[in-house]
Symmetry: C3
Subunit: 354 residues, 3 copies
């Protein structure tokens, strides 16, 4: 990719410095003063870039690679040609991710609109709101009564922070998001247009239509959670909706009232989780999955994209399909379906006789 | 749940007053002066709370329940221990919902950002717009030319009301929603980030790409409709898109141009309804369902989550699956699939021989 | 539909003028001075309306039609009764679309909030941003540092244009959209609440949770693209996310990082396209389809609604289902499923014995 104006390369770090930051080992100290400024995939890394490899399949690409350094596991170090500086790491992917964050700190957070002043004059902040020092409020943000915002947090342009909401330190609320009836920990990132804390979908059938059941719970978002663009998270009905520490949620996910999600989960785009479902720790959910209300998903479960979860899922399992079943079963069903399709096309006599 | 700052408990009502409001019967008039302030599920209701039961399965919970009153049907009254005041109602769920609304009126509507003044000075309101008395306009809302807003309606922070839009009385437009080319009845609630009235998706293939078909219809939203966060409703092409009285729509639902939805429907999150579909009255649609364009869904139909509707569905039926079929058939297919999965796992010889 | 206030009929054009504009042939020059002002479907076209027909099935409707003109192919002209002026076009649908745009130019673009002045005083525009002449900035829009906006482009109310973003000429950014880290061509339309250019969903597993992989690519949106309400398009990780010329994307579509979409595609609502997928030219994707990351979809492919694409799809094919298979196979499977359901219902002895 030609250089772009949104993320300028770093002014440069010596490999020795970078290795120390990453907790990696620079194999040849002759390379200590080589300067790196950016990250790139091995297929097009050039001078100044650092890249990484995970398997022996990268051998050919290494032969012609012009990167200024390659991060790899000790077991793969022999693959790397002499001319390329090698950094050893037991987790090259994580080391590469850390390098990226070091080179492009601005890219770790939603795009900033902050001008010279910390509090944009166009923002509307209730006088009773408490902002710690170092809080940035971008243009046209609205902050309600008695809201509390921690040090180092940025409230994005045109975002909305409801009355009494508490946001911890070093959080980023991107432009156009709304946060209501919620308590956020530290280091939380909320992307553009996410809607947190509106009331859940609950009604009782009455004689003249549905009667709204008041939703008086909250949304609790623990430390280091990230929530994608246009995702919606309803507040609890009479309990709380909880998103556990370190969980990452992609765009356009819908999370119903009272849902409890554990720590360090990854939830891909357009997933829907119905009310009162309980998701364990370290759960990974593929895109467009639907999860029924009140089910329990055990720790470490992995769910294939587009699956429909109608029952509890035991911890540690991999599942797929609608209804969801063990992943191997699902993949076999998929393979059978595909093979049936191919056979059918070739079957003499054709489908008229089916 | 510990007390929360977003919804403070009510100052308290006498059970006699509450019974009168609910149209319920307080069994023992000795309890007339007991004070209630909040609602809770039976599992953790305490002094000051009112709860409800729907079946005999709640017997054990009742034994240890500390609520200040229990709402139940006459047939279940004998279950309730002597120490608990009983309110009889033929519809305990509805009575409980009404009690919730009475205790927490603020929770019946999107979170308010209104300060002391009724019209926020930062709002931009076209001079030709007509606002009845008692209209509240929150910070940074934009109201276009010739828009008309009825008494008691609140226009939320940073929401957008298009030119010529008409909104009835006692409506709530939440922060960050946009309403264009639409006529809204009374008592309508539009949640955060909902997008109403942008043009539908219509093109004619031309020699140099797709030619836009102008969308000159409107969106008609009847009384007491509620529309969820980040839901999108396109205006009609040459007809109108219509949402019938009392219908409730959850978050992230997509409703295409010319769709007509009847009265008192419930549509769960992430449903997609393609253009010109007709949905009857009292229809219930589960999450992530997709409905093909131009189909007709009869009154009272219930559709299971994630179903795909490709054909008309007769009134009163229950359906599920893709393609949608009678719910019992679908559930049997689901059960067979699950049972096949289980058998397979146990089959001697394993899947290598399949 | 009764007249509506959102889109007033045109002041009127002579049929001769309209024919010239459309490149159509007015059969009978006696009708040259007939005035038309609007478009309507044949079923309710009246005096002043123009309509079109595509097949002989419209014969009955034509008999009672009161339109001021009918557009049709030469082969169908004999169907039209004597009293109705006929315009011949080899592509009546496209001609009708063009007529609509001529009568209702305002409906070709998102609803405008622009008052008398071109730059709303409430907008916050960084002094370093460059706006060509004729740029309209509506109330409360925020434009970041060094952004560049081309002549004739309208930046909608409360929309957000990030630092360094470049937007071409004659574009429309609707109210409440956000555009970050993106380069837009000419004639691009972005609808309300669309979120363009936030960072993609990428993490490396680390010892203490997921480590964010910086997303330093861009979003490139070519000429005449249209993007629907509340759609989200993530910027590239180390490459760019690209939407090709003339492609039309509906509401609530999710497009992951590094996705490349060709020219003149049509993508219906609620589709999800995972990271690094490559979509060819002229591809049509039905609603709620999910496309796996890194797959390649050939030119001209058509995909039925709700399908799940797990593998590459060859150019020119039609596909449906999950897993996606040739459309004919999928439709046969659907028909079998439906027929099985019907048989089952009629089977003597019933399902108790199943």
């Amino acid at each position: 990719m030609e250089q772009n104006v949104f993320f300028l390369p770093h002014e440069g770090l010596r490999l020795a410095e970078l290795a120390e930051f990453l907790g990696a080992e620079l194999v040849n100290s002759d390379h200590a003063d080589v300067i790196v400024r950016s990250v790139a995939p091995i297929s097009r890394a050039r001078a100044g870039d650092i890249c990484y490899i995970l398997s022996r399949r990268s051998r050919d690409e290494l032969a012609t690679c012009e990167a200024s350094a390659v991060i790899c596991d000790k077991a793969l170090a022999d693959l790397v040609p002499q001319h390329l500086p090698v950094m050893l790491s037991s987790n090259p992917h994580a080391a590469f991710a850390m390098a990226g964050g070091l080179f492009y700190p601005a890219a770790l957070r939603p795009v900033a609109f902050s001008g010279e002043s910390e509090i944009a004059p166009s923002a509307v902040i209730d006088p009773s709101a408490k902002l710690e020092k170092g809080v940035i409020v971008e243009p046209m943000a609205v902050i309600g009564a008695h809201a509390e915002i921690g040090e180092g947090t940025r409230i994005g342009a045109q975002s909305i922070i409801g009355p009494n909401v508490k946001i911890g330190r070093d959080c980023s609320i991107a432009a156009g998001a709304s946060i209501l009836c919620a308590l956020l920990g530290n280091g939380v990132i909320i992307h553009n247009g996410a809607r947190i804390g509106q009331d859940g979908f609950g009604y009782a059938p009455g004689p003249r239509g549905m009667i709204k059941i008041v939703q008086i719970g909250r949304v609790i978002i623990q430390d280091n959670v990230e929530i994608g663009a246009n995702t919606t998270i309803d507040r609890g009905a009479m309990d709380d909706t909880v998103i556990g520490e370190g969980t990452k949620i992609d765009n356009q996910v819908q999370i119903g009232h009272n849902v409890q999600i554990g720590r360090h989960c990854a939830i891909v785009a357009q997933v829907g989780i119905a009310g009162s479902a309980k998701i364990g720790n370290g759960v990974q959910i593929g895109g467009q999955v639907g999860i029924k209300g009140h089910v329990t998903i055990g720790d470490g479960v992995q769910i294939a994209a587009q699956s429909g979860i109608m029952t509890d899922l035991a911890a540690g399992g991999q599942y797929g399909g609608t209804p969801a079943r063990p992943l191997n079963d699902y993949l076999r069903d998929v393979a059978q379906q595909m093979s049936k399709t191919k056979l059918r096309g070739k079957k003499p006599g054709g489908e008229q006789n089916d």
